[in-house]
Each structure stands twice: as C-alpha cells, then as structure tokens.
C-alpha cells in the first residue's frame, strides 16, 4: 500500500492504494468514477481512455501508484459548469454513439487528437482511433463528430 496524491477532474485526491492497482480500477472502484469503462483485458479496446497530464492514456495500462502527482481528466470532468464539451456535443448531434459503452474512451481519445491536430483529415481521424473499438456505430458518425468538433474547438 502507498499513498498517492492526484488531481482528478480538478479536485485533489489523496488515497492509499496497493502497488498493483490499475488506474482504471482506482477510478472506478475507489473513486466511483464509473464513466471510465473496462471492455477488455488486453489493453486493446480503448473504453478506459482518460487524460493524464493532458495526454490520452488507456487507464488499464497504468498503475495508480505510478502516476502519483499527475493531473487526470476522466469523461466526468470534460464538461464545464454543466455545459458539455464541443466533442460531447458533436457526438450527440451526429449520433456518434449507440450503446454508449465505448463512448467515454472514444470521446477522450478524440479530444486528444484535436489537441494535437486541429484539422485532421478523415484518414487521420480513422488512424488515430485505431485503438478504440466500437461495435455499434461502424465508426462513420464518430468520424463525422470529430470533424464537427474540430470546427468548434
């Protein structure tokens, strides 16, 4: 067990964790931030993507203890003052989600793409999202939503 101090969605969090607690487990089970989803056990699906110090990360690939002192943003922290982020709005407007399970990871990943590439092409969007699996949408409306968000961010 060790103590970690993190800034999660703008709030300071201090917790005792075991050395082997994954960030995804920490968020879900210790902080009840269940918007971060776990869809696989091989770090392939991307449902658990969050931002750590501004960069997207599959939270099942990091140990909570390893990122002590970091700033973490989860899907719950993306809206500001109750107003959804332009990426969330675009997903809603263009039907970029169906069952909603992959959505938090997909949105967090897409937000990071636009931080790094303000006007990505369709091909660049599809390449970037290669690490996020969606079984419902066929990705077309996700790509459209990312393009729409790019015009608003």
């Amino acid at each position: 067990m060790r103590k970690v101090t993190l800034e999660i969605n703008g709030k300071k969090v201090e917790k005792e964790v075991q050395d082997n607690t994954l960030l995804s487990t920490f968020l879900r089970d210790h902080l009840n931030l269940t918007g971060t989803h776990i869809g696989c056990d091989t770090s392939q699906c991307g449902a658990c993507v969050v931002h750590v110090n501004g960069n997207s990360l599959k939270s099942c690939t990091a140990l909570a203890a390893d990122i002590d002192g970091s700033k973490v943003t989860t899907i719950e922290g993306l809206a500001t003052n109750g107003k959804m982020h332009p990426m969330q709005e675009a997903f809603k407007k263009l039907h970029g989600l169906q069952c909603g399970f992959c959505t938090p990871g997909m949105v967090m990943s897409a937000v990071d793409l636009l931080q790094k590439n303000k006007k990505p092409s369709d091909t660049e969007i599809r390449d970037w999202l290669e690490g996020n699996i969606c079984r419902c949408t066929g990705y077309q409306n996700i790509v459209a939503a990312v393009k729409e968000a790019a015009t608003k961010m």
Partner: protein, 792 residues
C-alpha cells in the same frame, strides 16, 4: 404541431452516456457485496473425476464455494433451448441437459464447474486457483463438417445430431432440376463469429431475506423473458419473488438474449449465502462463454435456364450448435434460415435441409441477423456464380427473377406484404455508379491492382410473428410486445415498453411516436424499460422487433388514451363522444370552439371533482386515472429488403483487400428517425464487412479457442472502412399502422455476400472462404497469375 416521426431528433439518452452517467451493471455496487469467480473447464471435453475445494475453502476471504453437486441437490434447473424443432422424419429434436454448473462432464472450454464467492475480487481469484479438479480428458469434437462422425458427446444423441430438418419439397425440386439447362452449385462455409458487445457480460444478485425477493441486475436484452426462464425452468425462485433489472446495457447483438449460467448461479447463491454477489466477465471469459454466431457448412444448388430464369433451389447445411442448445440456438439455423433461403427471387421449387450438430465448442445462438445472413450468403453467392457461368450481368440476372407483384408469396414460407426490389436495385446502381465501374477497374489495373464489384439483393424476415404461428412451429413463448402509457396528473407521460434498448435508441424513437400520437412535447415523455418491477411483462429486443412490434404496442396504447380522452371531453363539454376530434394534443368538439387539452383531461381524470359540487368530469362508469396498456401481436413478420453494391481493390503482391466503395440502398418502410436508422445501417454493415474480411472464431482440434482475445480475433477498427454510401427506397409495411419495417440487422445480412462477391469477382471467380484475409487472397492471386500465364 409538426410531426416528429420522420425527423432527425437528437437522442434523449446521449447526455448520460457522454458525461459518464450511464449506469451499466458493472457500475452498480451494493453494500456488503461479495465477488464471484467461476472455475471453468480448461478442456473441451472431459469427465470430472474429482473436484476438491478443501484448500480453496481455507483461502483468505472465502465466503462460499458451490459446485454442480449443490446445484443438483437444490434441483436448480439448467439452460434451455427456446424452440423445439422436429426432424424431417417427424421425431423431436434431441437436446442434452445443460446444468448451470457441470457436475460430471464438461463439454467446452469455459464450461463452469464451480463458483468461488469471496469478500474481495482478488481473494476470489486467488481461491479459485486453489480449486482442484481432476479431469479425465476425452476426445473432443470440434469440426462442424465432421461432427456426425465424431465420438458421441451427449449420451443418447447419436451422431451428435440434434435434428435433421427439412423445409420444402424434395420431389418438386428434383423435377425442377431435371428441367434445368444448367445447375450452379456451390460449397460454402459461413464462418463462426463472436458477437463481442463492448460491455462484457455481468450480473449482480441481491437477496432480501425478509421479503424473500431476489433482485438480479444483469446484462440482458430481455429481462422479463430472463425472469420467466429462470423461474419456470431454472427453479431459482417464483416469478413474483424475482426481480430482473437490465439497466444500461452496452450492446447485445443477440449475445445477451440468453439467460447464462452466471445469472442462475449468482441468483441462487445470493439466497444461499444471504449476501449480494457481483460477477463481471473478463473479456477472455466473454470470448469463451458468450454465445457465438453462424458456423454453417453448406452445399447449395440453383437450377437455371440458359436465359437466366431460376427453376429450383436446394441447400444441404450442417449447422454447429456448439455444446448445448440455447434459447435461439435451434431456431436460428431453421425457421430464421430456411424460409429466407430463396432470397428475393421467384423460384418455383425449393428445399432447405439442415442438420444441426453438437460439438465441444461454445454454444452457437442468435447473432445479429441470426440465420438470415447465412441464407442470404448462400443464395447471393450462388446467384453471383450463376451470373458468371451464364454470362449475364449480375444486376440483370437478379432483376429477371425478382417478383413483379406484391404481396409476394415465396416458395417456402413467407408472404412478403410489400416491397419494390427493382426500384431498390436501380437506385443502388445509380448511387454506386455501377455503369462507370469498368473505367474504375481499368484504372486499378493500370496501377497493378485487381478490382472487383459485388452485388447482393436481400430481404429479411424480422419482427417474428404472429405468436400463434411461431408457437405452432415450436417456439416456447409468444412474440407479441407490451406497452403501458401513463399520464401523470400534471400532464407528463411515462411510457413503459417490454422491449429493451442496448443501443437502439428507444428513448428517442419511442418518444417521437408517443409525442405524435398524444400531442405532448417530447421532453415531457419518458420511456422506461429494463426492469421487471416497472411496466408490464414484455418479450425484449432481438430480431429487429422493437419498433415493428413494441413501437406499435405504444401506438395502440396511445390510441386507447385518446379514446378515453374523447369520452371525458364529451362529458366535460356536454357533447357526444362521436363529435369529439383529437388533434395535436387537443380534444375539440366538432363545429364549435369548445376544446380541452390532453393535459387538462389528464388532470381531470386524476382529480375528478370540484369543491362544493357533486360533479365528476368522468362519464358514468368511467374509471379515474389516465393509463392504458396494449399488447400487440403482428399478423406477420416485417420484410425489409434492398440491394447493396461493393467495390474492392486488391494488391496482388500482398493480398490486401481494400474496400473502396460500399453502397447500401434499403427499404425499411416508413422511417421514424433517419439519423438513428443510418446508425443502425452503419453498425450492421461494419459487422457484416467484419465477417467478410476480418473476423473468424477458430478452435483447434482439441477444442481450444485459438481466437480468444482482441489480439487474436480481428475486431474491425475505424481505419478498416470507407465512408458508406447509404440510401433508401420506401414501401410501407401493410401489417402495422406505422408502415414500419425492422432495420437493425440489414447491414449484417447484406454485407458479407456483397463484399465476398466483389472479392471473388476481383479474383476471377476463384472461391475463397470468409474472412478474405491477406494470406488467402495472396494465394488466390498467385493462382490467378498461373492460370493467366497458362491461358496466354
């Protein structure tokens, strides 16, 4: 008031999913809950000689360990097949018992033998490792094609044959084939798939010892049906003491229709230990134990004339059921498959013969399309081959055999109420620039690439009905749907539906329908589903039935509300009910300016009186309140149809197949929300194209699943697809008042033959099996080169 039906209304459910406020089963935790880990067989077929839990019981945090012996002692029932199928010789199908925990014999890798319940997940995992099982490994049967020659898996089931089913007339087919100029024949495999809903299965069972009620939160597409099965067959609890809640469910695609071992075991065990038990599948468990889909081996023939008229069709199919027959396991390769075998064509004689076999693999059941993709793949590959062999354009050959009038009475079972297949074909050709294909092919050729174009026309039969018909064919339940429409006294509406949304957008589509029927703003309408304690018994969501069956139940319940509203208005405004009209939320007395809003009527129904006066707004004998229930049992299936066209480009040096263009032109009847229908088409296409190019579940000869993770099973990703080109034609369904047809499965049905026809076209007609991986295609390219050089 503008009609909402037909509009791109944004989804009511989205905000919670987009802000992390969705509530899936694994998100729910109860005070003092325990954690379950299932001990599963590592062998495909083995006898359990000894199961020793003594070491595990001493492990830290263990609350209880239960095995097949306790299940048997408590007379907990097993998992069941929902349809009884009869063989051609009149005998009933043969199915083995499928206990929730295996006691004597295991039949597939992942078959559970014990459950370990502990205070924490980690402790449960550690203890599960200490459960010692002594297995006598037996020879496994894994091949679909050879299953009938393998060792007998289940005692008393000879040749591992569940049934040998026939639909159609062998003699008529024989005569038709004798008249043929040519017989086109094909041997095809419909590859085994794993549904892979992104949310792994999970359940959380709770027990209240005072009320003696079990509450089961579970990842189900049909909570009421699950409760019925668990109660009537599982013997877990009487129905009124079992509440099943399927909250937000992260995709189903058929894989969450079944009641699974874990649902029964956790519910039963929660009562036994008097504590809540939580179980969440790891993805590797999902791969092993979720139902799989498809897995057919088929020989089919089409009898044709030289000028391209189809005279007869037959298929001989072996369908793999896996280790056990589950809810839709036996109907998927029979009544969901055979009746669609002749596709969209007038074929005077046909039969479909299916031998369903048991193997030591995960149970095979309904996966998006269920039977109809297999049927469509068979006929559309045959027709494409016929076009090559006859030298008739693939679109012309199809149109030549389309029905010319509707209703279209098909050879085998269905009478298709409406459609216009020629219009669909012509629109698809125009959308895909079919006539400009040759120029694109030459362009590919100039770059050293092989280009192919594939077409398929499909129809499908969804929204299975009516109940009397399906029950006569062996279905264990009726396939109607329920709806309950409740007004609050202050005018908002709650609609309870027996169907279930796990991505299908019912909260939006159904609210659009109710808003139009009742003239109530959509924001004042809530759709409730997924909890057996809320709303009426319902059948759930599968087979593209929610709108065509469940949506119509909502319409009918709303109509009852309006009828009552007219009676109350008549009383209140001293008119005759026949003179009251309802429009846009207002009850208006004809030829007067007297009217009441539906909100005022709701208020009056709940508060039926006034101060200082003995006066009721309700007519004599009318009950207070404003709430109506309707059950809808359609008179027939619904029959969406369409034509899809794909173009692929193959790099002969690498074998890589690039899907260049995909055009889908579908007829779903009236469309309630075009945005949502587009989403359904896109998703279905992705799964269908996935089957054709990427996905394959493979067992080795010992029954080990070789494709048991996302490292080994190719899930389609964003960069695997082009932008789909989607369009519609529209003929209204005549069997429901909205004129709607199902849209959820079309993409998964039409895409595999469309894409494979394109790949095989590019390969000069060489047959290859799905998925068309780079390795297979590269080899075919080499053959093509050889035969071309020989010809030269």
């Amino acid at each position: 008031m503008a009609s909402l039906v037909g509009s791109r209304v944004e989804r009511k459910e989205d905000k919670r999913f987009l802000t992390g406020k969705g509530r899936y089963t694994s998100d729910i935790n109860l005070a003092n809950q325990t954690y379950a880990i299932f001990v599963r067989s590592p062998h495909a077929r083995a006898q359990i000689k000894k199961l020793d839990i003594s070491k595990a019981q001493k492990s830290s945090g263990v609350v209880s360990i239960l095995t097949g012996s306790e299940i048997a002692e408590d007379k907990i029932g097993g998992l069941i097949a929902g349809w009884a199928i009869r063989s051609e010789d009149g005998t009933e199908m043969k199915c083995p018992a499928n206990p929730p925990l295996a006691k004597d014999i295991v039949n597939f890798v992942g078959d559970p033998v014990a459950v370990v319940i502990a205070e924490s997940l980690e402790e449960a995992k550690v203890a599960a490792e200490k459960v010692s099982v002594d297995y006598k490994v037996l020879k496994a049967v894994t091949s679909t094609a050879d299953a009938m020659d393998g060792d007998t898996i289940h005692e008393g089931i000879d040749k591992n044959l569940c049934f040998d089913w026939l639909l159609g007339d062998r003699q008529k087919v024989k005569e038709a084939f004798e008249k043929a100029d040519k017989v086109i024949s094909i041997d095809i495999i419909n590859n085994r798939l794993i549904p892979n809903a992104m949310e792994p299965r999970a359940c959380l069972a709770d027990y209240n010892s005072a009320s003696e009620e079990i509450t089961l939160y579970t990842t189900s597409q049909n909570p009421h049906l699950s409760r019925l099965i668990m109660s009537a067959f599982g013997n877990v609890s009487p129905e009124h003491k079992l509440r099943v809640v399927a909250p937000d469910v992260g995709g189903g695609f058929g894989s969450k229709i079944n009641v699974y071992n874990e649902d029964i075991v956790c519910s039963w065990a929660a009562k036994k230990i008097n504590r809540a038990i939580k179980w969440v599948a790891e993805r590797s468990e999902s791969f092993l134990t979720d139902i799989h889909g498809r897995d057919h081996v088929t020989h089919a023939e089409l009898a044709v004339t030289n000028d391209g008229k189809f005279l007869g069709f037959k298929n001989e199919t072996i369908a793999n059921l896996g280790a056990y027959a589950r809810v839709f396991g036996t109907v998927t390769p029979t009544y969901l498959f055979g009746p669609c075998a002749t596709g969209v064509y007038e074929i005077p004689a046909a039969y479909s013969n299916v031998k369903a076999v048991f193997t030591n693999t995960a149970p095979v059941d309904a996966y998006r399309g269920a039977g109809r993709p297999e049927a469509t793949y068979t006929i559309e590959r045959l027709v494409e081959k016929a076009s090559m062999e006859l030298g008739i354009d693939k679109t012309e050959l199809r149109m030549k055999n389309f029905p010319t009038a509707f209703p279209f009475k098909q050879t085998l079972v269905h009478t298709v109420d409406s459609g216009d297949y020629v219009a669909g074909m012509e629109k698809a050709k125009q959308m895909a620039d079919y006539n400009g294909y040759e120029a694109r092919r030459k362009d590919s050729e100039s770059r050293g690439k092989l280009r192919g174009i594939g077409v398929s026309s499909y129809f499908e039969a969804c929204g299975i009905a009516p109940s009397a018909a399906v029950m006569s064919l062996g279905c264990g339940v009726g396939l109607w749907e329920s709806a309950e429409v409740r007004f609050n006294p202050t005018g908002q509406v709650t609609v309870y539906t027996g169907s279930h949304s796990h991505g299908q957008s019912h909260q939006t589509t159904f609210a659009q329908i109710a808003a139009d029927e009742l003239g109530v703003p959509i924001e004042n309408i809530d759709i409730v589903h997924g909890d057996t304690d809320k709303g009426t018994f319902g059948m759930g969501t599968y087979g593209s039935r929610s709108l065509t069956v469940g949506g119509i139940a909502i319409v009918n319940a709303c109509k009852k509300i309006v009828e009552k509203g007219k009676r109350v208005t008549a009383k209140m405004l001293e008119a005759s009910p026949e003179d009251v009209e309802f429009k846009d939320g207002e009850f208006i007395v004809a030829k007067s300016n007297k009217k009441k809003t539906i909100g005022e009527i709701a208020f009056a129904c709940y508060l039926p009186g006034v101060r200082d006066e003995m006066k009721s707004p309700l007519p004599e004998g009318e009950e207070p309140g404003l709430k109506e229930t309707a059950f809808f049992d359609p008179s027939n299936f619904s029959f969406p149809a369409g034509t899809h066209i794909a173009e692929v480009e193959i790099d002969p040096e690498t074998g890589e197949v690039k899907l260049e263009k995909y055009t889908a032109c579908d007829d779903f009847g009236r469309i309630i929300n075009p945005m949502i229908v587009e989403g359904q088409v896109h998703g279905g296409l992705a799964q269908g194209i996935g089957q054709a190019l990427y996905e394959n579940a493979e067992y080795d000869e010992t029954g080990q699943l070789m494709t048991g993770s996302y490292m080994d099973y190719t899930m389609p990703r964003a960069d695997n697809f082009p932008e789909f080109n989607i369009g519609y034609t529209c003929t209204h369904a005549t069997t429901n008042p909205l004129g709607v047809k199902g849209c959820g499965e079309a993409g998964a049905i039409a895409a595999p033959p469309t894409v494979m026809n394109a790949v095989i076209d590019a390969l000069g007609g060489q047959e290859i099996t799905m998925p068309a991986t780079a390795e297979k295609v590269w080899k075919a390219c080499k053959n093509l080169k050889k035969s071309n050089s020989k010809a030269a």
